[in-house]
Amino acid sequence: MAYRAQQIAPPIPSGFGLGAATLVAALILGTLGVVASRAPEAGQLGPSDWAAVRFTVSQAVLSAFLSVLFAIPVARALSRRRFRGRGLLITLLGAPFLLPVIVAVMGLLAVFGRSGWVSQALELFGLPPIPIYGFHGVVIAHVFFNLPLATRVILQGWAGIPAERFRLAAQLGFSARNVARHLEWPMLKRAVPGAFAIVFAICLSSFAVALTMGGGPRATTVELAIYQAFRFDFDLGKAALLASMQLALAGSAALLALWMSQGQGGFGKGLDRSVERWDEGSRIVDFIAIFLAVLFLLVPMLAVGSRGLAALPDLPMTVWASAWMSIKVALLSAGLAFALSLPIALTAVRFAWIESVGLLTIAASPLVIGTGLFILVFPFASPQDWAFVVTACVNAVMALPFALRVLIPAVQDVCEGYGRLSLSLGLSRWAMLRLVILPRIRAPLGFATGLAAALSMGDLGVVALFAGTGEATLPLQIYRLMGAYRMDAAAGAALLLALLSFGAFWMCDAWGRRNA
């Protein structure tokens, strides 16, 4: 009998996980409730608010469409070509996920901005520069962040086609066109809607990109409108109404993405495997696809790096102070994410539904939670005093869905593989946790914690809502430097921030991989 099919739930205390999940749900639903209770005061959404909704949806649709459109040839090229540096390239495709938005924005401005390289090249031909601020800029930035993500999702689809199919295709003498029709097209029909929905959901909640590249009546996302209602008009009721709107938008998009991406793995397991194929396909097309993608992703980074390197020696003291602040926020946030996600992941073996608390955090945007906390804190204390704690908490919660996505399958694997052995040896709950589960999930635990640290290090969200004019985290400081047109100092600080983000991730990830 195939006994293994039976689920073994080892005696892990569920109380902690249920407690952590309740805490997260209370934070999200509690702040939502607070926000909703203030919403009627605003009356109705005005024309500019509806414009924000339209802009949010339309830029998300176009960003998702372009990301997926460009991702298909790149993923195809990566899946059917084997070359040196292929593994490194696939790893690099994960990097934009960790890259602070403000750093990428600086890089994109250097390339596509008014005095950027592309505009200068256009000028040679007597063409006007690309209007980078507004709709174009927001979409370019979103494609920059999500092209790699879409590529990884679709590449996973390609990796999911069994090697035997390609052997059969070779045996039957399929041309590249036949392979595309019989193997790749059916796969794409399944993978592409999921990739589109994920990117769409991410772009809907975009705040930092809209803050830096958008703005103005024609390029404001709902998230940005919430921020503006606060910072400029101090209109809590209107902010709350917009927050409810955002929750409905992001919530339905998250559900859609979840529904469409069912059965697709988390962070690209087995992407390094390249299946041997016999249909040739066009080498030139593949080369161009990979070359352009690398160019688009790497050049902005190199632009920030080269400019930042020169500015690094004489960074103002405020930047170092902000960097220290960001490190503290990231540490706190990573610790919180660890403390929340581990018990929830352990409990998910017994109560699978608990992962939906992660979905809840995707639907609730950080600005919505921030709005709620602001309303709660405001009567008692100065929100500025709480800015960094709130930032750390919100970031920990926002990292939760990603952490759970890697931790839950890992815990399940351990329980399926070693649950019976642990039970038969009589390991107590704590012995099982200490001796079996923790050592065996160390790698994903390090990865998830590193993710939380990097995301919170680079976050430019709630902190912008809360922080006063004094101390700032590094991303906020960079934003201020940009606003003051101190671009060299901003580039130096951006390089520092990128190093800190990747460094934080690398340290946690390396801890997880040690002795693995």
Binding site: Y3, A5, Q6, A431
Partner: protein
């Protein structure tokens, strides 16, 4: 059918897994070495896992020395178990894996560490305690698992084909080691096998599991020489 001398009794047991259902009504004598044979999918492993406490019968009771153990947790049952795979934790050393058999917290006294060393020596793994399972060969991994069974010193050993992945010569080596272990400690043995020669080699009696039933044990030679219809089809005779 169930005499007073029987240590282990399964009374009117009904096991269900999805649409699969099987019955068992049998008893085993102390220190008996019994093979569980039958066609694949007949429920050999299911029977063993129910005994070990991983599957609760929908009906019937299990007794050990007259005491009911039907609903008890796996670790308090009088069995040490070796599964088809995953018998060693890959992140622990061999000595730690064996030490778990003595103390699941792994907080071992000096005397217990000594016992682990002794067990490793007696299975032929002296000096290999500090290695990780991945640094051992397949046969050595089986020996390490058997060293743990040894220090657990439970009255009965349940084997769910743990040596199936080994080559013929290695498998025979392991079976002989198991037989020696049983003789030395006086432990009983219940061993799932799909290979009749395994059963012949170390088990004097055998339980036939076929057509939804686990039959009472009979002499192995007798069963194999004169197999009932279901077993005959499986053996290809």
């Amino acid at each position: 059918m169930l005499g007073d001398g029987e240590m282990l009794e399964m009374k009117e047991i009904v096991l269900k897994q999805g649409t699969f259902e099987m019955r068992a009504n049998l008893g085993l004598e102390p220190s008996a070495r019994v093979a569980v044979i039958g066609p694949s999918g007949a429920g050999k492993s299911t029977l063993l896992m129910a005994l070990a406490g991983f599957l609760t019968p929908v009906n019937g009771r299990v007794y050990w020395q007259g005491e009911e153990i039907t609903g008890t947790t796996p670790n308090v049952r009088p069995f040490s178990v070796l599964f088809q795979d995953n018998n060693l934790f890959p992140h622990m050393t061999v000595a730690q894996n064996v030490g778990l058999g003595l103390r699941p917290s792994l907080l071992l006294s000096a005397e217990e560490i000594e016992r682990v060393e002794c067990a490793l020596t007696s299975v032929g793994l002296d000096g290999m305690g500090a290695r990780k399972p991945a640094e051992l060969s397949g046969g050595q991994q089986s020996r390490a698992a058997l060293a743990r069974v040894m220090v657990q010193s439970k009255p009965m050993i349940l084997l769910d084909e743990p040596f199936a992945a080994l080559g013929p010569a290695l498998k025979i080596e392991m079976l002989d080691l198991v037989a020696r272990l049983c003789t030395d400690t006086g432990a009983g043995l219940l061993m799932v096998s799909h290979d009749p020669s395994d059963a012949r080699r170390i088990c004097e009696s055998a339980i036939l599991v076929a057509e939804g039933r686990a039959h009472a044990p009979v002499a192995t030679d007798e069963l194999l020489r004169n197999p009932p219809e279901a077993l005959r089809v499986y053996l290809g005779q």
